[in-house]
């Protein structure tokens, strides 16, 4: 795989030696941070922070969220630096700054490492070292465990690697409480169980891209039918996980009703993916599930906040 990377990037470098490196625009460096992923990380982290019991100074809370956001961006930059050789082969990622030649992988490594170290040290100094260690582990998990070890070697890459995207609300929770407990684990599990059906739905209508790049996603290794089956089972498994915040005592019936409706609709979309095998409806089903899955995660965390707000206001 290293040879492919060297060949592809060297070919571009030979073609335009001065167009590469040291010349990236501010927008290119911003794109390295994967701002769309970062926005979801920030949102779930804010939820973790607001749901955690205990008090935190508003400024300290702001610094904690900033550090988590920068840490997520650092992970994105390190991921793009390592994956430049496969990004260049996929239509969805070919226009990223490194495949485009705006930024060199070495620059992205330095940029990502500097942000990673900076965010962890600042979180440790300004908030607490437990959450800083947790953030460091999250960055390591995404950049090394997922990107370097799992992504190219197993179709289960997204199942295990999904943990990296699920840690941010726990990091924020730890910033307030200094501990990890069942309630924070329940927030982790909601995202962790959501990740495989979300990405496999994407892979079902993008698996040509992944095959071209040699990334072993489930549809191009186990087949489309096996992926549909896995999406169905994971979606069913999301139902008990959605109830965990109630069991852990951080949510009441407002969240319960919302989670029931939202998860039922998720399962309904997953059933459509599983049961429809031919025709336009079958082609559209994974796209619908993918779009809904984004709304689902957002709505689940909004429901948790709404539940907390209703409780604080003493409306129940």
């Amino acid at each position: 795989m290293t040879d492919i990377r060297t060949d592809l990037l060297q070919k571009d470098h030979d073609a335009a030696p001065f167009a590469l490196g040291g010349n990236g625009a501010v927008e290119d460096f911003w794109a390295l941070l994967k701002p769309r992923v970062m926005s979801l990380v920030v949102f779930t982290a804010i939820c973790g922070l607001l749901l955690a019991p205990g008090e935190i100074h508003p400024w300290t809370a702001f610094v904690a969220i900033l550090c988590i956001a920068v840490g997520a961006g650092a992970s994105g930059a390190l991921n793009m630096a390592y994956d430049a050789d496969i990004d260049i082969q996929m239509s969805r990622t070919a226009k990223r700054p490194i495949p485009r030649g705006a930024i060199e992988p070495g620059e992205a490594y330095i940029f990502g490492t500097a942000l990673a170290v900076g965010s962890v040290v600042l979180l440790g100094l300004a908030v607490n070292w437990i959450s800083a260690a947790f953030l460091a582990f999250t960055i390591f998990f995404y950049a090394v465990i997922y990107t370097m070890l799992l992504k190219r070697s197993t179709p289960q890459n997204i199942v295990i690697g999904g943990a990296a995207g699920a840690f941010p609300p726990m990091v924020a929770w730890t910033a307030v409480t200094g501990t990890v407990d069942l309630a924070s684990v329940s927030l982790f599990l909601i995202i962790f169980m959501w990740t495989p059906p979300h990405f496999w739905a994407l892979a079902l209508f993008r698996f040509g891209d992944y095959e071209t790049a040699g990334v072993p996603m489930l549809p191009n290794v186990a087949g489309v039918d096996a992926t549909r089956r896995q999406i169905w089972w994971y979606s069913l498994a999301m139902a008990p996980v959605a109830a965990l915040p109630i069991i852990a005592g951080i949510a009441g019936w407002v969240y319960g009703v919302a989670a029931f409706v939202l998860t039922a609709k998720f399962i309904w979309h997953a059933w459509a993916v599983y049961s429809l095998r031919e025709g336009q409806k079958a082609d559209r089903a994974p796209k619908k599930l993918f779009s809904y899955s984004i709304i689902y995660l957002f709505a689940m965390f909004v429901s948790l906040l709404a539940d907390r707000a209703v409780n604080l206001a003493g409306l129940i």
Partner: protein, 54 residues
Amino acid sequence: MAEDMPTHTPTKEERARQRKRSIVIAWLLVALVILFFVTTMVRMSSNIAMQAGG
């Protein structure tokens, strides 16, 4: 040896990009100074409040 090194005169567009990068870095440094200053003040005041309380 130095004479063999390829040289490159930045184009107008490259200079503009470089300038924009420098300005953003400068503002980020200012933001970091403010961030560290306020964080120090917040931590110091909470420590003083804790000592005063008990």
